[in-house]
Subunit: 233 residues, 2 copies
DNA sequence: TTCATAGTTCGATGCTAGCCAAAGTATGCA
DNA sequence: TGCATACTTTGGCTAGCATCGAACTATGAA
């Protein structure tokens, strides 16, 4: 009875098309202004403003003011994970959608999930890091190993800084398209940042799609495969 | 844009208090009749009937007719997992609720999640099975080992029958109270069934709470600890 | 057949909530 | 100070939908 009320409260926030479009846009991980979100949802500014107020009050969004702009972002990765799980259900029982176009295929291959890499590439990377002993998986907990700390430091990440933060370094996040885990947490975010900084990949404009450059793809594959040959899964 | 529409469609189904209460009741795993669900949601039969039709059309429920009864149940474990994740968000940012009463404490300790054991006991069991080498965890995939197959057969489960079904034998499911994985899949369901058959535990009336009997608790602990002493986590 | 139970369908009602236009507030810039 | 941009608030309109009572269908039992 009480459980249902809580459930409905959160779900009804997501259950409006305008708000859902805003949330989906924010799954891209970058904070957006009220106007941008209004555009994204296809409503006028006043309407968007009201929706954003409700989402913020409900605890799904976090807002930071910057001059006369107000930037909205998802409150935390738990909210992002929830949205992914709903999308998962929608994708699973929504064969009523048109056949997957090129955009969908690209999303399946590699996309940004909040702030880290998801899709086939994300899952492959997660598996490879586990295989190479960089991360240790214990149930739903994922931990960075000493070997991994060395590797990612060499790769250009500031592991010590990550450890100082409140946010967990490693976290697994369920992938809706592949239905397996990929790497989230500050490490997951850092790795993707680095990919983009190194120009291995870039974000497609106004979409969650991540596109690898040809040399980036090769470097990425090398990173997964390591120097030793091993049997594929 | 399209993503948001799908998202909203599913979420709005959950976003009505009456429907949410029905879904929460069905998280207990047992199929319920339309009348029972109407009672649970606090609405009249016609209203409940309309809601159930929408949930079924939306793909969240599965209905089976039995004489003049119609039994409704969650469509699959993916739907159950989605509901758990929404409850997780609600629990995390809902400190507006009254302080956790005895019912809540019991829910945290051991409860039924769709058809398998969740809560602290569920997470402890998952970890112990992994520790004892009965299940092998590979990313989000969980697989039964030969050693595990032997153990669970001795425990009274028909492993061969489970393997024949469409449903995966092992699956991990994220626990909203402990935020770690517990064991789902037909094995998870089978183990809980066995606990109840052996009178190690019983379901509390009209609730998701699982109560261990004193001897059952002892037997359960013994099952986790195995015969060898080991360092606790 | 007749009655009872379980559930759906129909019609009417009332409330909620989304929507926009216009006016109001706040910040930045010249 | 004055103007522009970014966003919120207010007010009024509308549509959708949750709700219930009453009538209808279907299964089971006497």
């Amino acid at each position: 009875m009480k459980a249902g009320t809580d459930l409905a409260q959160i779900a009804s926030l997501v259950g409006d098309p305008a708000r859902a479009n805003m949330l989906a846009a924010l799954m891209g991980g970058t904070a957006l202004t009220a106007s941008e979100l209004a555009m994204e949802a296809g409503v006028t500014l006043p309407t968007a403003s009201a929706h954003l107020a409700r989402l913020s009050d409900g605890g799904l969004l976090r807002m930071t003011r910057q001059g006369r702009h107000r930037y909205y972002a998802l409150a935390d990765h738990q909210v992002a994970a929830m949205l992914e799980s709903i999308m998962g259900v929608a994708a699973a029982l929504g064969p009523q959608k048109v056949l997957p176009g090129p955009r969908d295929t690209a999303m399946r291959e590699a996309r940004i999930c909040y702030d880290h890499l998801a899709g086939e590439a994300g899952v492959a990377m997660f598996d490879a890091f586990a295989e190479r002993g960089f991360i240790a998986i214990d149930g739903d907990d994922v931990n960075l190993t000493d070997k991994g700390a060395g590797f990612f430091s060499d790769f250009g990440l500031d592991i010590e800084a990550m450890r100082g933060k409140r946010r967990p370094v490693c976290r697994s996040c369920l992938d809706w398209s592949v239905r397996r885990s990929h790497l989230a947490g500050s490490l997951g975010a850092g790795v993707l940042d680095r990919f983009i900084a190194l120009k291995w990949a870039r974000r497609e404009k106004n979409s969650r799609v991540i596109r690898f450059t040809p040399p980036g793809r090769a470097a990425f594959e090398r990173m997964l495969r390591a120097d030793e040959g091993r049997t594929g899964a």
